[in-house]
C-alpha cells in the first residue's frame, strides 16, 4: 500500500521486512528496527524494543487517518496520507480556502456576535465570543475582509471545529461575486 506518514515537518516511509506473529523487522526511513508489538487495550500498544518496554496510546483524531500519540514523555500528531486522501486534499484545495472560516477548537456556547453579514472587518478585530467551562474566548479575524455569512446565533451551542463565521478576504481576488448583506 502506498502510504506517507507525516509527523511535524517530516514525511516518513515505512517498509515491513519480515513479520512473525507480533515480531516485526521494519525499515523506517531506512533505519532498521526489530519490534515486538502487542495491542493491549482499546487504544494502547505495548512495544518491546531491545528489551525496553515502551507504551504508546494511539488516539484517533478528527479523522480516521489522523492520530494523536502519547508516549512516556511526549505527544505527537501523525497524519497518514494515502492515495485517496492525497487526491481529496488536492481537490479541496481548489475550491475552498479553509482559513476563511472562523471555528472554535472546542465545543462551547456562542456568547456574543460582534459583527453582521456584509460588515467590513479589520485583521485582528474580534468577531465572536465563545464560552466554554467558565472561560470566554474571543475569536479574531485573520485578515482584512468582509463578513460573508454568520452561521450561528448568540446562545447557540457549537461543536468543536464547527464553522461559526465566513469571511471573504479583501486582499485576495477570487473569480466570484462579492455579495453584500442580502
Amino acid at each position: 500500500m502506498s502510504l506517507e506518514l507525516k509527523i511535524n515537518n517530516r514525511t516518513a516511509r515505512i517498509e515491513i521486512l519480515t513479520r512473525n506473529g507480533s515480531h516485526y523487522r521494519v525499515l523506517i526511513d531506512n533505519k532498521e528496527y526489530e519490534l515486538d508489538i502487542e495491542k493491549v487495550e482499546h487504544n494502547a500498544y505495548s512495544i518491546l524494543h531491545q528489551g525496553k518496554s515502551i507504551n504508546m496510546e494511539m488516539i484517533e483524531g478528527k479523522s480516521a487517518n489522523h492520530y494523536q500519540v502519547n508516549t512516556y514523555n511526549r505527544y505527537y500528531e501523525i497524519d497518514i496520507i494515502d492515495a485517496a486522501t492525497r487526491y481529496r486534499h488536492h481537490f479541496n484545495g481548489q475550491i475552498t480556502s479553509l482559513d476563511r472560516f472562523i471555528t472554535s477548537p472546542m465545543p462551547g456556547k456562542v456568547v456574543k456576535i460582534l459583527v453582521e453579514e456584509g460588515e467590513a472587518v479589520a485583521r485582528n478585530q474580534t468577531l465572536i465570543v465563545v464560552s466554554a467551562m467558565k472561560m470566554d474566548s474571543e475569536y479574531k479575524s485573520p485578515f482584512d475582509g468582509v463578513i460573508k455569512t454568520v452561521l450561528v446565533k448568540e446562545g447557540q451551542a457549537v461543536d468543536a471545529l464547527q464553522h461559526l463565521i465566513e469571511i471573504e478576504n479583501m486582499g485576495k481576488e477570487e473569480g466570484k461575486s462579492k455579495k453584500g448583506k442580502g
Binding site: A44, I54, Y72
Partner: protein, 503 residues
C-alpha cells in the same frame, strides 16, 4: 440525627461528600441540571432530582428548585459543597426557614465574611493583621489618591464583593491609578451588582497560605494546620501542599492562633478556611475567610487523618468535636495536583469533550477524587476541574517522587488535561526546592511549556504503530466491501442467467 442529605453541587465534590454519607449510613440526594443526567454524582447518589436547565443560574444556583427537591426527597440537611451556593447567605437562610439543616456556618457568618471590607474591619478589631489598606470603600477619586499615596505604590484595587480575580487590579504607579479604579468598579458592578472597591498594599513575592479550621456549636474552635497554595495561575490554585515548605513551627503556631481568633469574631461553626498572604519577610496578613469546604481539603485530611466532611456533618448534628487541638499532628507530607480539562499548549483553553479511556494511578500513598468515567462527555457549562490527585509520603521529597510516579500512571484520553503540565512543575527546580511564591508559574512558564527532547526512536516507533493501526483499521472494514462486491457479482450473475434464459 441527620439521616438524609441533599448535596447541592455536582462533579468531584458531590461524589466526595456522598462517599462520606455512605460510610456514615446517611442517604444522599443528588440534584442535577439537564446537562448532567449522566454525571457521576447522579449515578452515585441514592436519589436524584432534576433542578433545571444546563446553565448554573437556572439549576445549581436556583435556590427555589433546590429547596423543592429537598422537600420532595424529604431530606433533613443540605450540604452545599464549594462554589455555587456554598457562600450564599440567602440560601443558608432559606434552607433554615424550610426546616433544613444547612451544613455550614450561620447566614450571619457567611454575610460578614462575604463582604471583604467588613471582614477586614472585624479582623482589625480583633487584632488579626490585615494587609495595609483602606478601611472603607473608595467612594471618590480624591479619597482614592490620598489613601494610595499613604499606603505607597504598588497597590491592589479590589472589589468588596469580589472573588476569583474579578474586579481586581494591580496598580504599579500613580498614573495608572484612576483608569484602573474606573475599570475595577465597572467590572465589579457587572460581575457582582456592586461597585464598592477598596485598596490594599501589594505584597512582593507573596505566598498564599491558608489555615483549615473546625468549630462546633459548643464553642470549641481548632485549626488543622496550614495549606501552602502559592502555585497559582490567574488566581486559580493549581497545586497545594502541607506542611508549607516556607513557614516555621513558630509561625505555624502563631498563624493558627490568629486563624482561630478570626473565626471566633463571627461565632463561626463548621469547617472554614482563613486565607493569609505572607511576604518574603514572613509578615502575614488576613486575606479572606472561605466559609465552606475547600477544593484542597484532602491534603489536610491526609496529614491529620481526619475526614472533614464527617466533621462537618457531626458539627451540624450538634455534636462536640471528637478531637482537641493538642491531639492533632501533621504527619508526613501531602500534595494535591488539580487535574483540569485544559490544553496548556493552547493558552490553557478548556478542553471539554468525550472521555475515551482512563487509567487511574494506584498503589501506596495515593488518593484520587474524580468524577469522570470512560464514555462520559464533559459538559461545557461547568468548571474544568475533573479530578484531584493527592499523594502522601513521610517527607516532602518522597511526596514529590510519588506525585511524579502517579502522574506517570495517570492516563486520560479523548480530552486534553493538565497532567503533562503538572509533571513539568514537579520537575522544576524551584518547586523541588520549595522556593516559590504566587508568581511561580509566570516566572517559570518557559520551562513549564518546554517540550522534552524528541527521542528519535520513539518518534520512529510512533510512526510505525500509526501505520499498523491504520492498516488494521482498513482491513477491518474490508469484509464489508467484500460482501458488497459479492452481492453485486451475484446480481450480475443473475442478470446474466436471465439473459441466457431469455435468449
Amino acid at each position: 440525627m441527620i439521616e438524609k442529605i441533599l448535596i447541592a453541587n455536582r462533579g468531584e465534590i458531590a461524589v466526595r461528600i456522598m462517599r462520606t454519607c455512605r460510610e456514615m449510613g446517611i442517604r444522599s440526594v443528588a440534584v442535577y441540571s439537564e446537562a448532567d443526567r449522566k454525571a457521576m454524582h447522579v449515578r452515585y447518589a441514592d436519589e436524584a432530582y432534576c433542578v433545571g436547565p444546563a446553565p448554573s443560574l437556572d439549576s445549581y444556583l436556583n435556590i427555589d428548585n433546590i429547596l423543592k427537591a429537598a422537600q420532595e426527597a424529604n431530606a433533613d440537611a443540605i450540604h452545599p459543597g464549594y462554589g455555587f451556593l456554598s457562600e450564599n447567605a440567602l440560601f443558608a437562610q432559606k434552607a433554615a426557614e424550610a426546616g433544613l439543616i444547612f451544613i455550614g456556618p450561620s447566614p450571619e457568618a457567611i454575610s460578614l465574611m462575604g463582604d471583604k471590607l467588613t471582614a477586614r474591619q472585624l479582623m482589625t478589631d480583633s487584632g488579626v493583621p490585615v494587609v495595609p489598606g483602606s478601611k472603607e470603600s473608595m467612594a471618590d477619586e480624591t479619597m482614592l489618591l490620598k489613601t494610595a499615596t499613604e499606603i505607597g505604590f504598588p497597590v491592589m484595587i479590589k472589589a468588596s464583593a469580589g472573588g476569583g480575580g474579578k474586579g481586581m487590579r494591580l496598580v504599579k504607579q500613580e498614573s495608572e491609578l484612576i483608569p484602573a479604579y474606573r475599570r475595577a468598579r465597572s467590572e465589579s458592578l457587572a460581575a457582582f451588582g456592586d461597585d464598592t472597591v477598596y485598596i490594599e498594599k501589594y505584597l512582593e513575592s507573596p505566598h498564599h497560605i491558608e489555615f483549615q479550621i473546625l468549630a462546633d456549636q459548643h464553642g470549641n474552635t481548632i485549626h488543622l494546620f496550614e495549606r501552602e497554595c502559592s502555585v497559582q495561575r490567574r488566581h486559580q490554585k493549581v497545586i497545594e501542599e502541607t506542611p508549607s515548605p516556607f513557614i516555621t513551627p513558630e509561625l505555624r503556631k502563631k498563624m493558627g492562633q490568629q486563624a482561630i481568633a478570626a473565626a471566633k469574631t463571627v461565632n463561626y461553626t463548621g469547617a472554614g478556611t482563613i486565607e493569609f498572604l505572607m511576604d518574603k519577610y514572613h509578615n502575614f496578613y488576613f486575606l479572606e475567610m472561605n466559609t465552606r469546604l475547600q477544593v484542597e481539603h484532602p491534603i489536610t485530611e491526609r496529614v491529620t487523618g481526619k475526614d472533614l466532611v464527617k466533621a462537618q456533618i457531626n458539627i451540624a448534628n450538634g455534636l462536640e468535636l471528637e478531637f482537641k487541638q493538642e491531639e492533632l499532628v501533621q504527619k508526613g507530607h501531602a500534595i494535591e495536583c488539580r487535574i483540569y480539562a485544559e490544553d496548556h499548549k493552547n493558552n490553557f483553553a478548556p478542553s471539554p469533550g468525550l472521555v475515551k479511556n482512563i487509567t487511574e494511578p494506584m498503589g501506596l500513598g495515593l488518593r484520587t477524587d474524580g468524577y469522570v468515567y470512560e464514555g462520559y462527555e464533559i459538559p461545557i457549562y461547568y468548571d474544568p476541574l475533573i479530578s484531584k490527585l493527592i499523594v502522601w509520603a513521610p517527607s516532602r521529597q518522597e511526596a514529590i517522587a510519588r506525585m511524579k510516579r502517579a502522574l506517570y500512571e495517570y492516563k486520560i484520553t479523548g480530552i486534553k488535561t493538565s497532567i503533562p503540565f503538572l509533571a513539568k512543575i514537579m520537575d522544576s527546580a524551584a518547586f523541588q526546592q520549595g522556593r516559590y511564591d504566587t508568581h511561580f508559574i509566570e516566572d517559570n512558564l518557559e520551562f513549564l511549556l518546554e517540550e522534552d527532547a524528541t527521542h528519535q526512536t520513539y518518534e520512529d516507533i510512533a510512526l510505525f504503530i500509526a501505520y499498523l493501526d491504520y492498516t488494521d483499521k482498513l482491513n477491518k472494514y474490508t469484509p464489508e466491501k467484500t460482501a458488497d462486491t459479492k452481492s453485486q457479482s451475484n446480481w450480475k450473475t443473475f442478470g446474466h442467467r436471465n439473459n441466457l434464459f431469455h435468449l
